[in-house]
């Protein structure tokens, strides 16, 4: 009996890691970008089943996040892009919590669209894939993941690229940007040469139908590019100093980083953030398409310039 207790203790302490490796195959995504984006948001928010026996209702638990990564990986594979996983462990925000619980454990997912002319320079585009608890996270942040898919698809078709493009899906943004902080450290450690970092958060709400976007803490040069391309597409641009999302992690380590979002500071933003009402049907896909086009034009400009 007493020996059994010791065994149970050991099994519970060491044996609670049951993340199965799930292979998933998904239907071909529609060829039209906006339809593919609609499909992606639909699956990632539980509006449509992922497989016959699984629905992603939110992207919070390790299993939900694993299924999200598998789905994103499959979606990118359809663009002939191979995905890689960056596993990390990070301490908690204070030592008292360290004493009580285990470290943060997560996985960032990324892919590289290689330059067509040899280059060691990277433009990084990122969006987080986790959600708050019990939240489908359509606007925050399935919309931005769909944007990244759209931009990746368009950039892959650009015939001459002078820089590599790295597309990253960050884990655990909702928990003090843990995933992006770990990824920024990883880039620094590996000595990646990063031209600029563009992170996207909440790209699905445009109640006033003006298609406006906000860029957060851009350097003058990046702001100029965004303004020039936005002007060509007749998209209003506002600059803000919001730093509460993933681009902050990169700026802390000295990277040239900015954030792109709907009119968060101006107030034309989803009222359903971090609630169960942040659902598929609240996403404005025309706005998502318009922002995707803007981001593509900006990144296309950066990767085609010497």
């Amino acid at each position: 009996m007493k020996l059994n207790l010791t065994f149970i203790l050991l099994i519970l302490f060491f044996g609670c890691k049951n993340q199965e490796d799930i292979n998933l195959s998904i239907e071909n995504l529609p060829s039209k970008t906006i339809d593919a984006q609609r499909e992606i948001v639909s699956v990632l928010t539980g509006n449509k089943k992922l497989s016959t026996d699984y629905t992603i209702n939110s992207r919070t638990t390790p299993k939900e996040r694993l299924m999200t990564r598998r789905y994103l990986s499959e979606a990118l594979n359809q663009l002939n892009l191979k995905t890689l996983e960056h596993d990390y462990r990070e301490p908690n925000s204070n030592v008292f919590i360290d004493l009580l619980v285990s470290p943060f454990k997560g996985t960032n997912l990324y892919t590289i669209i290689p330059s067509t002319i040899e280059s060691d320079e990277y433009v990084l585009l990122g969006a987080h894939y986790d959600t708050a608890r019990n939240c489908p996270g359509a606007n925050d942040n399935a919309s931005a993941m769909a944007l990244l898919y759209g931009v990746a698809k368009k950039i892959s078709n650009v015939p001459v690229r002078q820089k590599n493009v790295m597309i990253v899906f960050f884990d655990q943004e909702e928990e003090d940007l843990v995933g992006s902080r770990a990824f920024a450290k990883y880039l620094k450690k590996k000595d990646y040469k990063i031209h600029s970092v563009h992170t996207f958060d909440q790209i699905g709400w445009d109640k006033d139908l003006d298609k406006a976007v906000e860029i957060e803490l851009a350097t003058k040069k990046l702001e100029e590019i965004y303004r020039e391309k936005a002007s060509e597409l007749q998209i209003p641009i506002h600059t803000t100093k919001v730093n509460s999302t993933d681009h902050q992690s990169f700026r802390e380590l000295g990277y040239n980083a900015l954030g792109i979002t709907e009119e968060f500071a101006n107030g034309d933003t989803t009222p359903f953030k971090d609630t169960p009402k942040d659902t598929f049907d609240t996403v404005d896909f025309e706005y998502l398409e318009s922002t995707t086009n803007l981001v593509f034009e900006v990144i296309n400009h950066i990767v085609t310039q010497n």
Partner: protein, 125 residues
């Protein structure tokens, strides 16, 4: 105390220290050294006082109390989160969910087992 119960007491005591030591190493690798320092200090105190019955008695009592407090804190936070408003981030909820609560309960039992005066005295003698 029979030989068998004495061995069990030793195993549980050593295991409880060892598991916190592992936690300390786990955090040290990530650059957070305080959990390891605390675990090492406690282990060192046990080692240095291994032949002093009175000091060892006090040490086990303190260690058992720390385990009880640790478990109760985890249980309290986990329960408050489950039945009250969602207080915690996902990561804490993952740690203090059902499996986490079972681990806390087991450590609570371990804490009380080590704290038990009769058992402790018998083991020391």
């Amino acid at each position: 105390m029979t030989n068998k119960s004495s061995t069990l007491y030793t195993v549980i005591l050593v295991l409880s220290l060892f598991l916190f030591l592992i936690k300390g190493f786990q955090y040290a690798v990530l650059g957070s050294y305080i959990p390891l320092v605390l675990a090492l200090v406690i282990c060192m105190l046990f080692y240095l006082n291994r032949k002093k019955k009175k000091a060892l008695n006090i040490l086990i009592k303190i260690w058992a109390l720390l385990i009880i407090i640790w478990s109760l804190l985890r249980l309290l936070i986990g329960t408050a989160d489950r039945f009250g408003k969602e207080l915690m981030e996902n990561h804490l909820q993952e740690n203090l969910g059902v499996t986490g609560s079972l681990i806390s309960l087991l450590f609570l039992v371990v804490g009380f087992y080590l704290f038990n005066k009769k058992r402790r005295q018998q083991w020391l003698n």
